[in-house]
């Protein structure tokens, strides 16, 4: 497998990419989805990876399409001077509507105010595999830059012909081409009046380096901000097309339950209600939510349930049920761990666990579906509109050209909105509703139960260090949680790393950062224990074992800002550090906590995080995202865990599933390093992954108690 191919493999913990859709309707052929056994989704390789082309994994809902190279598919310059960029990405709060517009404006040379973006609409935007994996910035941003550069060159050529002046003597910028010698100008709008026809994107087109950016790199506020503070923006659950019905789905009492009897004799009499019973799917659509709910409660149904694994036994289950490795890429080996351990003066063997957690986006899964003749339009908050289109086409047995998926700017996702569930359900109900649109909004309880989770996992680590504090051996086994950031960034001659697949217990899949949080928690906790075992300062110990200059820099900068090593000034104080690398960006997190043993309270007092993702496209948006990841990370670090008993989620409400709130937020310092000499990487994920180990290490510093499971729930150890 080539390096390029490896780079485009989907991480194995993206379980939802390979999962079958949630419902099987009888409308669809049974064998419609051809799943590649237990194999992994492969990002089919673009011919020219360096050109940043993004293609899709192979299973259902995907195409091995390349990004279109026609400029027209990506960019439009109107006669009014407005420039429209097109991208299949979804705006989910990560600010891509702003950063992509900045990129085009910067390269094309137009005022930011004259830019607008059309995003996430399968009828209008180029194919896109999805908004995940921190890929927008490293792939689509350079693509749009090349598109803008090519458009600018075409405009310049046209002016050059008109004036009979060589194009290289002309200057493009501010929405016009200028001839500095004569002072003549032609606006892009004027030049674009006559059609350019179709133009292919040149393979290589020099674009501006970050040092010459004028609009990119600036802290431009989120576009459409006013719409959000006035309540004017319409998220999917806010849409109310004419004649719309409200949908509800009858959920089984537990996972995997099958419908064994169905009696709708009392519900049938209700007027204005559309009932659908298709296989195990039961739903209703009605003029009000209450009427739809009433219809469902009027049904007499019986379910057959199956016994299932519960949370108390999950970790032993994962260890016992690991599948033998099937893929080469699951294992990495270097030197001999046995020899490395034999040469060590200290060895350490430890096991770490991570719980299932929920994305809990504030906007629950929701969709509005409408059939017009045999064509389907679905408005839906999803990170993968083209994959949803594929699922809908397949399950309703219609060509993809007859399905349109539109993504209104969405109330967050965090990796949780990759599947087509709400769209399928709304689509199925609408199919029975005679052309009337149907809206389906999941309740919070449905969201906590029927979405998918970040997978739980067990991580076993065995290591050795020599008398000089250098690592001699490193063996790392991740069961189930995933492969992201599984490889150690530290220098170790002898290492063995393995990811062990386990059949799913709960529906699982992508979550912000994937398994990078779990793997960093295990690794950085383990490194901390090794440092203490060898009586070396934890930061110094890391530095001794690090060669990667970018990782050293984030640690050094963080140490300076935090004042590491710090003297304790109060009882119960503790300091911790953790760092790492993933998806082209680097992070170091320092934390200060206070442990009040008498009160049984652990307080995170301060977090200092240094983040470096190459050249920064929008420092204001980036800061928002980095601080956001830090705060979201507090939940998974300290208290978030899905509880489940025999196929039921037992904490499916915000009253029982705690997420970070205002009082949980410590003093936060986020330091962003702008490396204009390094291509921009995505930033949505990596800033979350060192929070948990940093806090766990601070707890050890304060108490000498080592916590090895996420959530840390440190209060439990204060009794």
């Amino acid at each position: 497998m080539s390096t390029a191919e490896k780079a485009f493999l989907a991480e194995p913990e993206r379980y939802e990419f390979r999962a079958l859709p949630m419902h099987k309707f009888t409308l669809a052929r049974r064998d419609f989805f051809k799943i590649f056994g237990t194999g992994l989704a492969i990002f089919a390789v673009a011919k020219d990876v360096s050109a940043g082309q993004e293609t899709a994994p192979a299973p259902h809902g995907f195409h091995n399409e390349e990004l279109p190279k026609e400029i027209g598919a990506w960019l439009h310059i109107g006669e009014d001077g407005m420039v429209t960029g097109f991208a299949g990405k979804a705006e989910i709060g990560q600010n891509v509507r702003t950063t992509l517009a900045q990129t085009i404006a910067d390269e094309l040379g137009v005022a930011f105010e004259n830019m607008r973006m059309v995003l996430g609409d399968t009828a209008l935007t180029p194919f896109d595999a999805g908004t995940f994996g921190s890929r927008t910035t490293p792939t689509i941003t350079p693509q749009l830059r090349r598109v803008a550069a090519a458009a600018r060159d075409l405009l310049s050529e046209r002016a050059s012909k008109q004036w009979n002046v060589p194009a290289e003597k002309l200057v493009a910028g501010n929405g016009k081409i200028t001839d500095p010698a004569s002072g003549r100008t032609l606006r892009y709008a004027e030049l674009a009046r006559e059609s350019f026809g179709e133009h292919q994107l040149p393979v290589e087109d020099p674009v501006k380096p970050p040092t010459e950016w004028t609009i990119a790199g600036q802290p431009i506020p989120k576009v459409d901000g006013r719409e959000f503070v006035t309540g004017g923006h319409r998220y999917s659950p806010d849409l109310r097309p004419e004649g719309m019905l409200y949908g509800k789905v009858l959920r089984p009492p537990s996972f995997g339950a099958t419908l064994i009897s169905y009696d709708d004799s009392s519900a049938k009499a209700l007027s204005g209600v559309v009932l659908v019973h298709d296989g195990d799917f039961v739903g209703a659509a009605a003029p009000t939510v209450a009427a739809a709910e009433h219809a469902l409660t009027s049904l007499r149904v019986q379910w057959k349930e199956v016994p299932q694994i519960s949370d108390q036994e999950i970790f032993s289950y994962l260890k016992k049920n690991a599948l033998p490795s099937r893929e080469e890429r699951f294992q990495q080996k270097k030197g001999s761990v046995a020899e490395g351990l034999a040469a060590a003066t200290h060895t350490l063997d430890a096991s770490y666990t991570v719980a299932y957690i929920a994305h809990a986006p504030m906007e629950p899964r929701a969709a509005v579906a409408q059939w017009t003749d045999s064509k389907l339009t679905v408005w839906m908050g999803t990170q993968r509109p083209f994959a949803v289109r594929g699922d809908l086409a397949a399950i309703f047995h219609i060509p993809e050209k007859d399905v349109r998926v539109i993504v209104p700017d969405t109330g967050s996702a965090y990796g949780g909105k990759h599947t087509s569930d709400a769209g399928l359900e709304a689509g199925r109900l609408a199919r029975a509703a005679g052309g009337r649109p149907v809206k389906l909004v999941w309740t919070r309880e449905e969201e906590f139960t029927w979405a998918y989770f970040r997978p739980a996992g067990v991580i076993d680590v065995k290591s050795g260090i020599a008398v000089d504090g250098k690592l001699t051996a490193w063996e790392f086994h991740n069961y189930h949680s995933g492969m992201s950031a599984i490889e150690t960034p530290y220098v170790v001659a002898n290492q063995f790393t393995e990811y062990h697949q386990v059949p799913l217990v709960l529906r699982s899949g992508s979550y912000r950062g994937l398994a990078a949080t779990a793997n960093h928690f295990a690794r950085e906790t383990h490194m901390d224990t090794l440092a203490h075992t060898a009586s070396i300062d934890p930061l110094e110990f890391r530095m001794k074992n690090l060669a990667d200059p970018r990782m050293r820099v984030v640690l050094e900068r963080g140490a300076r800002a935090f004042g590491w090593p710090r003297q304790k000034t109060a009882e119960g104080q503790g300091f911790g550090v953790a760092a790492g690398y993933e998806k082209g960006s680097y992070v170091a997190t320092f934390s200060e906590i206070f442990v009040d043993r008498k009160a049984g309270v652990v307080q995170v007092k301060k977090l200092v995080e240094v983040f470096e993702c190459g050249a920064i496209v929008n420092p204001d948006g980036l800061r928002n995202q980095v601080v956001g990841a830090m705060i979201q990370g507090l939940g998974g670090a300290l208290f978030e865990a899905i509880q489940f008993q025999n196929g039921r989620i037992t904490n499916s409400h915000f009253s029982s599933y705690r997420v970070p709130r205002f009082r949980d937020v410590p003093e936060i310092e986020a330091i962003l390093l702008d490396r204009k000499d390094i291509p921009s990487a995505g930033a949505g994920e990596t800033p979350i992954m060192a929070i948990a180990p940093s806090i766990g290490n601070a707890f050890y510093d304060a108490t000498k108690v080592r916590l090895t499971g996420l959530p840390l729930q440190p209060e439990r150890y204060l009794a």
Binding site: R240, V289, A290, A360, G411, S412, N624, Q632, R661, I668
Partner: protein, 159 residues
């Protein structure tokens, strides 16, 4: 049983036919079309549906529409006056105090309520007032900043 209910929302009069125990949230969103007020949990635990009832922040998913009929209701759509944003809205915009912004309406309504009762809140008072509002994107520090900015601006105007 549906009955006629008279509501005063954002200074306008509405007459709706609903069962009086229906949560106000659904009447606002589904009947009147004021979708700026969001559903987040339906059990008063997230604050996304916050409105002002008689000037005080309340969770509209927990208020039966029959009870809401007694007092004036203000939703996020009612804050802007003659094209001018409320100082709290302006402060959220200026501070960039949102990411996905789904929680923003509720955050703003809770903040307006706080500043009406406590024009110069301490950081602790802001935390206390917003503790019931969930932001999953982690924009909390900027939201606190926005409330402080708004307090400052409203004080200037009051002078």
């Amino acid at each position: 049983m549906a009955t006629n209910i008279e509501l005063e929302i954002n200074g306008k009069h509405y007459s709706v036919s609903y069962s009086p125990d229906t949560p106000l949230l659904y009447v606002l969103r589904d009947e009147i079309g004021l979708t700026g007020t969001k559903y987040g949990c339906g059990e008063g635990m997230c604050g996304a549906c916050t409105v002002l009832l008689g000037g005080t922040a309340r969770r509209s998913c927990q208020i039966p529409v029959g009870v809401a009929a007694s007092r004036p209701i203000t939703t996020i759509e009612g804050l802007e006056k003659q094209g001018k944003l409320h100082p709290v809205q302006q402060a959220f915009l200026d501070a960039g105090a949102f990411q996905c912004a789904y929680c923003t309406s509720g955050m703003i309504m809770s903040s307006v309520s706080l500043l009406q009762a406590t024009p110069h809140p301490s950081a602790e008072q802001i935390v206390q007032a917003l503790q019931g509002n969930i932001c999953r994107c982690g924009t909390h520090p900027r939201i606190i900043d926005a409330v402080q900015r708004a307090a400052g601006k409203m004080q200037e105007h009051a002078k």
